[in-house]
């Protein structure tokens, strides 16, 4: 898909939870084809502390409406400013960027797992999987009950299992402690979340020889493969997580912790 730079229009900016926002954008040129796992580089204007663009995953796409949604968690000045966008404002994106998740083969059992803003790419991935005739299952992990993000849209696609670190809702512990994750058979596991979560999921999957893809959130400058700042060590050397990723099969990653 050809990459482009474009001013999209904010259709809606909905607060999902404390410091989480879903920004719906529409393209006057018509959206390009977008694959689950891909991301955009958003230009943050009006923020003196934000020099570079900010990478954000494609959270959802509505082809009928011609809209693209981003899930933004406030992490600093850039995301803070994005959280304040109002309907009618423009947001300049460079997109679509990166590779995408490998969709499952017919009949496979798939688990999509993540937490926090790592949930962002999982909704669109789940939607695509669902459209391909497979029901996705979701395992979502949170700090505690009050941190749980609304996930009705995930539920409309398939079963959702929850974990919280303090057990205040769902399984106590991490996503890897969720019984459905440990005990059921999965052909594929997809994961996006904080690094420790991804490493734990990868370890479990390697042990059980489950196909597992993770979406990395390495620091990026360009998102285009021209700065070489976002590298991740893999079995084929340092690869750019913005062009060879952000999605990687965990077997290709040289993560310190092994399963």
């Amino acid at each position: 898909m050809k990459k482009r730079i474009e001013d999209l229009t904010v259709i809606e900016n909905r607060q999902l939870a404390e410091s989480f926002f879903v920004i719906k954008l529409s393209s006057s040129d018509g959206l390009p084809e977008l694959e689950p796992g891909q991301f955009v580089q958003a230009l943050v204007t009006e923020s003196p502390a934000t020099f570079l663009r900010r990478p954000l995953s494609v959270h959802d796409v509505n082809l009928k409406e011609g809209t693209l949604s981003l899930l933004v968690q406030i992490a600093g000045p850039g995301t803070e400013r994005l959280s304040k966008l109002t309907a009618g404002e423009k947001l300049n994106l460079v997109y679509p960027l990166g590779n995408s998740f490998t969709l499952p083969a017919p009949g496979e059992k798939v688990l999509l797992t993540g937490g926090g803003c790592g949930m962002a790419p999982l909704l669109y991935l789940g939607r695509k999987i669902s459209e391909s005739g497979i029901q996705p299952h979701f395992a979502l992990g949170f700090r505690n009950r009050s941190r749980i993000l609304p996930h009705d849209e995930f539920r409309s696609l398939g079963p959702v299992y929850l974990s919280t670190e303090d057990g205040s809702e769902g399984t106590r512990g991490f996503v890897t402690d969720i019984p459905a994750f440990r005990d059921q058979h999965w052909d594929r596991v997809y994961c996006c979340g904080p690094e420790p979560m991804m490493k734990a999921v990868a370890a479990l999957c390697r042990k059980r020889e489950i196909f597992c893809e993770v979406s990395l959130e390495n620091l990026m400058a360009c998102g285009l493969g021209i700065c070489l700042c976002c590298v991740v060590p893999t079995t084929s050397g340092n690869l750019c997580s913005c062009t060879d990723g952000p999605v990687f099969n965990v077997n290709d990653l040289k993560w310190q912790t092994s399963g």
């Binding site: 050809k2 990459k3 482009r4 730079i5 230009l43 502390a49 934000t50 020099f51 570079l52 663009r53 460079v94 390495n218 620091l219 990026m220 400058a221 360009c222 998102g223 285009l224 493969g225 021209i226 700065c227 070489l228 700042c229 976002c230 590298v231 991740v232 060590p233 050397g237 340092n238 062009t243």
Partner: protein, 304 residues
């Protein structure tokens, strides 16, 4: 219409805007956004004899109006370049310049010799100013005797246009420009990145795996511009200016300070069309102000 053409040594450029090494890959990565033939040229990624993995992640830190990088010359080496990249580059309708790096003088010489034979590469940029490698790189660019040695050695084997890329991390950059001129370089380009550093006070650790890295972007523009002005007054060979150029106004400052051409670096990360936007803006300025050619504004502040 204003005449945008400029010359660096025997080489004529369509216009004075070149993409900077390490910030435009091999050009192809930006083709979705712009027509490379609208540019004066591109300087492809820093290249070495042998393949290099570069430095460990994290290699980047955002700073006020700039960024630090510690890429460390990750590239697949000259063999891979010749076989797999060069054939594509040969088809571009713009000057493709290779940024040459090494640990030793022998490395620089051998690599330059190899590039001398590639017909579609009309010039090399000798990088004696990379702050992100342990050996070679900036060591040559901050010691006058070493600088002279490596430039002179490369000059003997390289017969096309030789540009020497200077480090700003020196007391007197003019000295290095003079040495480049004396040793027969057709041009000097400046500045490479300033050596900088950042710490994350929350983790109490440096933000880069290498602790220090190279600072680029608008933050360094005033320093870069001053150095370009100093060098352009001191040498007769054309100067290629860079450092924080984000738009045509920034580029005009460098030209007015005495640069014959400019390079656009970090800007491409934020605006992938930055290079061609700068070309358009310079042309617009010249037409508005009734200059018939870009050469009229080169060093104009020294005449005003």
């Amino acid at each position: 219409m204003a005449d945008l053409r400029i010359k660096i040594g025997p080489l004529e450029f369509r216009n004075p805007v070149i993409l900077a090494s390490g910030t435009c890959g091999y050009g192809a990565e930006l083709e979705d956004f712009m027509d490379l033939s609208r540019l004066g040229g591109i300087v492809v990624k820093g290249t070495t004899l042998e393949p290099r993995e570069g430095n460990p992640y994290p290699r980047m830190a955002e700073t006020a109006s700039g960024m630090l990088n510690a890429v460390g010359l990750q590239n697949k080496g000259i063999d891979y370049f010749e076989k797999n990249i060069y054939p594509h580059l040969a088809e571009y309708d713009t000057h493709v310049i290779v940024n040459v790096n090494g640990n030793t003088i022998e490395d620089y010489v051998e690599l330059s010799r190899r590039l001398d034979m590639l017909a579609a590469i009309p010039a090399i940029e000798l990088n004696i100013s990379c702050p992100n490698v342990k050996k070679g790189g900036m060591i040559f660019g901050t010691n006058p005797a070493s600088a002279r040695e490596v430039i002179s050695a490369v000059r003997r084997v390289y017969h096309k246009t030789l540009i020497v890329k200077l480090s700003p991390n020196v007391t007197d950059i003019v000295e290095f420009a003079r040495i480049s001129e004396e040793e027969g370089a057709e041009s000097v380009s400046l500045v490479n990145t300033l050596l900088g550093m950042a710490i994350d006070p929350r983790t109490m650790k440096p933000r880069l795996s290498t602790i220090t890295g190279g600072l680029s972007g608008p933050a360094i523009k005033p320093v870069a511009l001053r150095m370009v002005w100093q060098v352009a007054k001191a040498v007769k060979i054309p100067v290629i200016g860079m450092g924080g150029i984000m738009n045509a106004d920034d580029a005009l400052e460098f030209l007015m300070a005495g640069a014959t051409a400019v390079q656009v670096g970090t800007a491409s990360f934020i605006e992938p069309r930055a290079g061609t936007e700068v070309v358009k803006g310079i042309e617009r300025f010249l037409v508005e102000k009734d200059f018939d050619s870009v050469s009229r504004i080169t060093g104009i502040i020294n005449r005003n």
